[in-house]
Symmetry: C3
Subunit: 343 residues, 3 copies
């Protein structure tokens, strides 16, 4: 009896199946410190218990993207071990902040399948939920991946493509309980710009760059218990390179965006995202943002801002796609998210 996990193939996914992912994880100040050691993260809500208390939270939560990575990592052995490509994200929402001492687990429901015309692979859509020790959903998102078939003779399933929102309606964003930005300290947060200072269409070059190293992205990716071979094993890809986990690029770009968006404190929605080009060690990651939308919220002093966050390996800022409509080769990431800012 074979003991090792070969991963699931396309024909192993049935719409309606719920996969309970291993391994639950208790997070602590260790994960917090490592997050701040691996990314130049400085958003004050996630850095200081006192600052978090001043905006109505019980204490400083762990970074929203840290929660995402922990939840996501658990899905890899069941969802993307045989994936050819990570195609997209949608309907991501952060529902409950994660604090030190919380234990996270993940489960995914298969919500769509579509075999490719080549008969060798197909697209699988899953809605993943991360839950804490109180069975509260801390975050959820839809992801779709292209997965190889293990048995080419397996019959094609009935195509089912879920109806996914292009953008989460601002009214569906969940504001953390108690959040109140009316007493927000802009000095301690690092910038004076408030929600009202940003205009839809405005673009911000975040200026700074970070050259990434093999040890760093592996340390990060292991911490999220993401086991995909391509990130760790130089024999897994023909050219001997290790592919950097796309989430590492997301966190790096988000952290770099502090410079110009220091007050876009909490991420509450993930509308979509594309890992436009692979990122390898030695790349100097830069980032720019575009304000896509703004919305009021019901929480005191809290506005929502919808941002495009683009990570690049160089080139001119604000240069996204070529005349052919394809991403420029230096674009690593094109992410669309909602954050909360003081109005």
């Amino acid at each position: 009896m074979a003991k090792t996990n070969k991963g699931r193939f396309f024909e192993d996914y049935k719409v309606g199946d719920v996969i309970k992912h291993a391994v639950p994880r208790t997070v602590s100040g260790g994960e917090r410190a490592l997050y701040h050691a691996l990314y130049p993260a400085r958003h004050a809500v996630y850095s200081s218990d006192q600052f978090a208390a001043s905006v109505g939270l019980p204490k400083s939560p762990l970074e929203d993207l840290l929660a995402f990575h922990v939840v996501f990592g658990k899905t890899v052995p069941d969802v993307s071990l045989n994936a050819v490509a990570n195609l997209g994200y949608a309907e991501g929402r952060w529902l409950t902040p994660v604090f030190e001492g919380d234990t996270l687990r993940s489960e995914s429901e298969v919500i769509g399948v579509k075999q490719n015309s080549n008969g060798k692979s197909g697209v699988v859509y899953v809605r993943t939920r991360g839950l804490n020790q109180n069975d509260e959903v801390v975050m959820e998102y839809v992801r779709w991946v292209m997965v190889r078939k293990g048995n080419l003779d397996a019959p094609a399933p009935e195509t089912q493509i879920p109806d996914l929102a292009k953008v989460i309606d601002a009214g569906d964003l969940v504001i953390p309980e108690g959040l109140d930005f009316t007493g927000y300290d802009f000095d301690l947060a690092g910038e004076a710009h408030r929600w009202g200072d940003y205009e839809v269409g405005e673009k911000i070059d975040h200026v700074d760059g970070v050259t990434v190293e093999e040890a760093e992205h592996m340390i990060a990716t292991r911490l999220w218990q993401n086991t995909a071979k391509v990130h760790f094993d130089t024999t897994a890809r023909p050219d001997g390179s290790r592919l950097i986990y796309g989430g590492h690029v997301i966190s790096m770009a988000r952290a770099l965006s502090f410079n110009g968006l220091a007050n876009a404190q909490m991420i509450v929605g993930l509308n979509g995202g594309a890992h436009a080009n692979p990122c390898l060690s030695g790349t100097t990651i830069r980032a720019w943002s575009e304000v896509l939308d703004k919305a009021e919220t019901s929480a005191p002093g809290v506005g929502a801002i919808r941002l495009r966050l683009v990570a690049t390996s160089g080139g001119a800022p604000f240069d996204l796609k070529g005349e052919d409509g394809k991403y420029k080769p230096e674009v690593l990431l094109d992410l669309d998210y909602w954050a909360l800012m003081p109005v």
Copy 2:
């Protein structure tokens, strides 16, 4: 008066001497997170407080090998600073789980000495104990090393070689208090295979590989406060390479063995081990296991399994020694240990 520690030489060890090692260490969630960031460790008991509680433990302990590394690291300045080779381990037992907030210290009793026929070095046997802040022994093991003489004119001591068990009797293994695997959640643990599914003689290729980097092994080795020069200083060895701490290879191989042995949760015995060949940065570490024995225990739902864990730098799995009886050059580690599994 010279202030720096030159380390002990062969003639400085007397059978019966007890060496109280510096420096005690309080461990926290920081060590836990770093362990999971440095090794792809996913055993559920060590990842989740809730999972640990579901098997009768007060909360998630720190990895057994983390405890080993902390205890071992303290012995380096007193035992192996002038060691030529780390020759073997025996009679290792984990006696009390280590939790966040515990403070560990180590002491070693010299239990054997044998001068080599060349008169320039000798073998020293020590039994090391790690103790926590309540003076409970958290683990113990015997190690023997070859140590240079400082004064070649020092007389050879009477040869004393301790009588060491080749294998720890299963009845001598200590099961953590309260451990109960009757309600074990195989979904959350990551694999369905239970103790009864493994056969003596069965071999498992753990499939995955990790290419290791200088920064990683130095970060790990420093965290255990292991000060051996060869791990850190490129001027310490003639070829300018840094030798990776053998314990780094042990932890990497153990973590890789999750894939196929996810339910071999707790390490309770170390029967022996050989660092067959040195490991350097850039090596892609792989692992395979062989089931050497199985035994029942008195704890509810808990079986003991004796495993050979082999780490390699490549080559075919299950290929251990050549016709000359020597380890193949790609074998890095040959470890023999007892673990606890749900029956």
Copy 3:
């Protein structure tokens, strides 16, 4: 309206201004573990809660230099983003130990300005204070940097150079409340040498070396939320190298000094320091110390020792300056500090 921080230029500093730095930071066991993973730090007071309690402290504080780095890192965006050079330190004192759970913030008062004769830059002197969540000053120090002018037409300010002590008087050192070395355990601390064993003028070669890697210094520097481009971005300097944060060298040298100064437990004063030459990845850092002075203190069993700590990239120990009075090219750091030892 430009959203990104361009940093302050020479003409933006006015004597008497107080700059409240972003971002406050709550520290935990994660920062402690990372500090011990990045530097071979072993001083027992900072390693063990029980050892700390045995010398009268409530529990093990975080390393004094960790507190320094956290406080310093916050000043970078406001003080040294456009700095040409970090010229010196003076009057540094540690006033209150930092414990896990504390939240640190920083503020700096401009205490001096002097435009350079070239009209293109000037020297700015600031006194920085780090405060905890109870508004206690945990440490303070003076630093002066050379900063570019942004507007070359800005008029030169009136020159004001603060009157700074060359050396902190031993009577002005602040001993942590309750500190008592009368029951000090030299075995657990790692060395037998007490304050009385050191002579003014004595020099100690700390023997060990550590070859540093890009990933390590970036992980450290990010953890302190120090954002200076030159440490992270290979496109920031003409030769493509990343300059290692000077504080990384300080911590590495201090940790290496354990071997010979294991009982120089707590750093309480920083008299001065020069980053004599830049340090790059691949350098093997070594350290030596010289006893500059000794003083009694009012605390039981506690003596103060003034030490020169020199970090080098090789060369002979104790070789500091050439005949021209300039630092030898292999000298990286020349630091002058006060520490506390058991008498």
